[in-house]
């Protein structure tokens, strides 16, 4: 049995090589790392600019955060970017002027910041949590997002394309009459993709966080990467065996890609939490990945009960679909 499994592993590895899968993964690693090093690590959004209209000169204290304007029109023009905040002191009582950014919470923070600036109360407004510099925070954040994207979208596609190749060659049916366990057939594919995904996760983490911080988060990151890799590989396996051709698979892939990456863009870029997104399974996988990068690994029992349960369920589904494919007409 061991010999058969080793042969399956060798064959899957060769198929991945011939499909240039590793080249694609290496390309992704280089591309993501370059973007993190040269672009995202240095990104730092300026704090909300505050414009003040004070024709009577009521405010005497100067502040680095305030830009004085000389008329209402100038104030409104300055706040036209939906990011800056205006304070009109013409009537004696501060009147805040801002165009909504579209997010109520962000608008609220903008107003609070402008009020703090007006009162000269900018010190001690925020509590510094953790020891991350802004650059390290950026690195952890974007590395988590890229890894999630790579494992969920590209990993899923990788296994599916390998299976489509085998389906096209008809060799899946040959395995139906070989003295090899069907479970082994699935396990060998999962193993090669798992090892490849874990290696990718380790390299991406160490390259972009550095050796020390990278090593510190690696156990938790690898655990989450392993869970995500297995889930996505099994979904890819099921879809590739179930769907008749790559065209249909591509359409499904588009729908799945949107579904899977939604929490990345919502939770990662807008900070949305709670509500409907709690029911999105990928949101929990994504936040677990992000928490692992910020040294606050997910320790919730339901999460660790749901993940193996999902993997087992998907495995049984994949096994059943494979058995049906083997019996399909030539």
């Amino acid at each position: 049995m061991n010999r058969g499994f080793t042969q399956l592993l060798k064959k899957d590895f060769r198929l991945m090589l011939s499909g240039r899968f590793f080249l694609l993964v290496l390309g992704s690693l280089v591309l993501y790392s370059c973007y993190i090093h040269f672009v995202y690590a240095k990104v730092d959004q300026a704090i909300y600019p505050v414009y003040l209209l004070d024709p009577q000169g009521r405010r005497t204290a100067a502040s680095d955060y305030i830009t004085v304007v000389d008329g209402r029109k100038a104030l409104e023009a300055a706040c036209g970017d939906r990011y800056s905040v205006g304070i009109d002191l013409s009537s004696g009582t501060p009147e805040f002027y801002l165009l909504s950014s579209g997010a109520g919470t962000a608008d609220h923070y903008r107003t609070i910041w402008a009020q703090a600036v007006l009162e000269g109360n900018t010190e001690g407004q925020a509590e510094v949590i953790g020891s991350n510099s802004r650059e390290m925070k950026n690195r952890r954040e974007i590395t988590a997002e890229f890894l999630f994207f790579e494992l969920s979208a590209v990993g899923f596609l990788g296994l599916a394309s390998l299976l489509f190749k085998e389906k096209q060659m008809g060799v899946i049916r040959v395995h139906g009459i070989l003295p090899v366990n069907r479970t082994m057939f699935i396990l060998s594919k999962l193993s090669v993709f798992l090892v490849s995904d874990l290696a990718f996760a380790a390299l991406l983490t160490v390259i972009n966080l550095g050796l020390g911080p990278g090593a510190a988060v690696l156990p938790a990151v690898l655990l989450q990467a392993g869970i995500l890799s297995l889930i996505m590989a099994l979904i890819g396996f099921f879809c590739a065996v179930r769907l008749p051709d790559f065209k249909q698979f591509s359409l499904l892939y588009l729908v799945l890609a949107v579904f899977i990456t939604t929490p990345v863009f919502l939770a990662g870029q807008t900070g949305v939490s709670g509500g409907w997104i709690d029911f999105h399974p990928m949101y929990h996988l994504f936040t677990a990945m992000k928490d692992a990068y910020f040294l606050a690994p997910n320790t919730k029992l339901p999460y660790y009960a749901a993940c193996p349960g999902t993997i087992l369920l998907l495995f049984l589904l994949a096994h059943r679909t494979l058995t049906r494919e083997m019996a399909r007409e030539g």
């Binding site: 008809g170 040959v174 009459i177 003295p179």
Partner: protein, 282 residues
Amino acid sequence: MIEVKDLTFSYGKDKEALHGLNFTVGDGEIFGFLGPNGSGKSTTQKILTSILKGHGGSVTLFGKDLRSAHTQEFFRKIGVLFEFPYLYTNLSALDNLRYFASFYPKEQLRDPEELLEELEFKRDFLRKPVSSHSKGMRQRVSMARALISNPRLLFLDEPISGLDPTGAVLFRKIIEKERKKGTTIFVTTHNMLDADLLCDRVAFLSNGNIAALDTPRNLKERNSNRSIAVSYLYQGKRREATITAPELKGGIPFAYDEIISIHSQEPTLEDIFIQYTGRRLT
């Protein structure tokens, strides 16, 4: 070797593909399963190879009920040649054979190079990827895959399809050689000539039922009108005549100057198939 009793199978409600088949295949026999598309040939073969589950009736292979035979041991004893040459196109012929052979115990295996040589596979292509092989070469590699484990029971699905006449003759020889070794062979085919030349017994399958089952010779004899067609010259003119076997007892019963040809009027297996099933084998 194979014993099938009241075999039924349905692909769903009201989609019964097999309606109670009964047949046996003896050790070392070449058994032909003939029928047009959709007659239930492939379904039967898939049940016998344990790929398809959920059949009714009983199927016994190697003396064991098939329902309990879905084990590694069972698959080690069978070899299957599919209608199409299913191979890893990125691997060479040798690598394909080595890969598929790796699932069997070493003591059971044949040498892949010797086997390919026996199948007259071009040596230059041994190490070239299968994607560069012709259909006939792929079919040879597929046959080698089915034979590499020295199976006791060999299932052949359209074994001669995709082969040129030389290849067809070679494959028939190989199949005959396997039978001499004691291998039981179950052939599903459309090709009546192959069935006639190869099979000890044939079963005609039509709409999920066995319409006839016997040796090709018996089937032909039983349905023959026992006559011959004679072409001859008489007084400078070419003529044709049909004579029945009893009429021949006393020699040619008409005057002639020269016999040009004599043809047996024995029906072909295809004629008999049509007679039993009312359908052609297409």
